[in-house]
Amino acid sequence: MKVLVPVKRVLDYNVKARVKSDNSGVDLANVKMSMNPFDEISVEQAVKMQEAGTASETVVVSIGPSKAQETIRTGLAMGMDRGIHVETDEDLEPLAIAKILKAICDEEKPELVILGKQAIDNDYGATGGMLAALLDWPIGSAANSMKLAGSDMTVVKEVDGGLQTVKLTMPAIVTTDLRLNEPRYASLPNIMKAKKKPIDAKTPADYGVDTKPRLKTVKVTEPEARKAGIKVEDAAQLVDKLKNEAGVI
């Protein structure tokens, strides 16, 4: 079974986003960028399936600027077989990403696509569901665990009330949640090996899909800051403050 894993290059999760002074967006100049953490979990899952013999080929895809190649290399160093880089300097919306991924799926014919449940920069959480609809495939969102049995995939999903198990008929889409696995660190030899793995260079035009943005960013602003509070001496004072000053208990 061929497994496709789309990965996004995003502001590193440890870096606090700064709003640009002209309110046009978030400042991404000279800041650390990394693979979206959920996508690392997807890559780990694909590599595990390869090691277990359930995945025959694993392909990592990223749509983004030339530096997105580094993100693909990270996936290759973790153990993916080959990469596809769709180069664009535009920050495409999930709908456009999903359309490109649909075109890639039509070509590559994977049986499973594993995406992150959300990209931690734009926090849309939309691409996986959109791709599933465009392909008319079933989806298991926010996977806590997944297991292949014949032509079915059983996915335990994280839902608001706890856990829910669904059965998907392959081919299928899975989006990953935090507890699916713990992504490995690439070893130095594997990083070296990854340099020789092939990456196809593409552009959105190759797929002939309409990537025009549907949303116009009017402005990006800082959230309202909370004012600094006080330190209380002990539990008694805490109860007193909550009751008599804040009036919240």
Partner: protein
């Protein structure tokens, strides 16, 4: 502008998230209809008809909708959209699951987890774990919107909408429900509670969450957690508060043994009052806390409970 709001319910009763979503939708336009899709939802539909400001309630009552799985919800909603300019749903996991499918089928860019509605096509939403707020204007013919319900007040009762049944969703579907393992609790729901008390890695074990339980009992609070506490297996996954867990905005949020990583703050910094107990006086949580107690939680929590008791709780 006709807007279809999708109701949050458990086939038995209508959830407060619905009322809050109606408030958000009403800011987009005045013709707001509610869709109740599920199995055996007669009572839910009757409740829905009473929500103030709702024009009409549509019900789709079918076995395949019992769990509102993605494909069946898509099959119900997409055909209805000929008659609507927008579809709006709460951003709970049920709706997050199928709304992107609906958006893609309608060839629309979904606008996720909005915290502000500035008209029929302009929305405010947090990005980068809430470290920035984006105002976006949609040029799509139809809008597909999910709503962060904690940002909106609940619509009241007093409406008397008509109820109309619609046809069954057309299958076949390639996914099926197998089972569910729901966390049982008599406490208020995390996203709707007036007081939330959360524990982090500092709690040290699941057993130690008992220290929080007594306090939650006294305050009628919901219990939450940081990702670290969930990952460590102290508490169930659905307790996670944060960027990639639940967003809460109670009157009081108490963080215990939580450092205050940006991903955690994203889910609770809109709380009215924040209190924090942490033994590290430099913990980032204190930068957002109205009341900070620098103390060992194993000493502070029993004292806090005793003080509450003294104060009559």
């Amino acid at each position: 502008m006709a807007i279809l709001v999708i109701a949050e319910h458990d086939n038995k009763s209508l959830k407060d998230a619905t009322h809050k979503t109606v408030t958000a939708a009403a800011k987009m336009g005045k013709d707001v209809d509610l869709l109740v899709a599920g199995k055996g939802v007669k009572d839910v539909a009757a409740e829905a008809a009473k929500v103030a400001g709702v024009r009409k309630v549509l019900t789709c009552d079918h076995a395949t909708l019992e769990r509102q799985l993605a494909e069946s919800m898509q099959a119900v909603i997409v055909p209805l959209m000929d008659g609507y300019d927008a579809v709006v749903a709460p951003d709970t996991t049920t709706h997050k699951n199928y709304m992107p499918r609906v958006a893609a089928k309608l060839d629309v860019q979904q606008i996720s987890s909005v915290t502000g509605v500035e008209g029929a096509d302009t929305f405010v939403r947090p990005i980068y774990a809430g470290n920035a707020m984006a105002t976006v204007k949609s040029s799509d013919a139809k809008k597909v919107v999910t709503v962060r319900t904690t940002a909106f007040a609940a619509a009241g009762d007093g409406g008397s909408a008509s109820v109309e049944a619609i046809g069954d969703p057309a299958g076949p579907f390639k996914s099926e429900y197998v089972s569910e393992e729901l966390t049982k609790s008599d406490r208020p729901e995390l996203t709707a509670a007036k007081v939330v008390i959360s524990g982090g890695r500092g709690m040290g074990s699941g057993e130690n969450f008992k220290l929080i339980e007594g306090i939650a009992d006294k305050l009628g609070a919901a219990m939450g957690a940081s990702r670290a506490a969930v990952d460590a297996g102290y508490v169930p996954n659905d307790w996670q508060v944060g960027q990639t867990g639940k967003a809460v905005a109670p009157a009081l949020y108490i963080a215990v043994g939580i450092s205050g990583a940006i991903q955690h703050l994203a889910g609770m910094k809109d709380s009215k009052v924040i209190a924090a107990i942490n033994k590290d006086e430099d913990a980032p949580i204190f930068q957002v806390a109205d009341y900070g107690l620098v103390a060992d939680l194993f000493k502070a929590l029993p004292e806090f409970e005793a003080e509450l008791e003294k104060a009559g709780y």
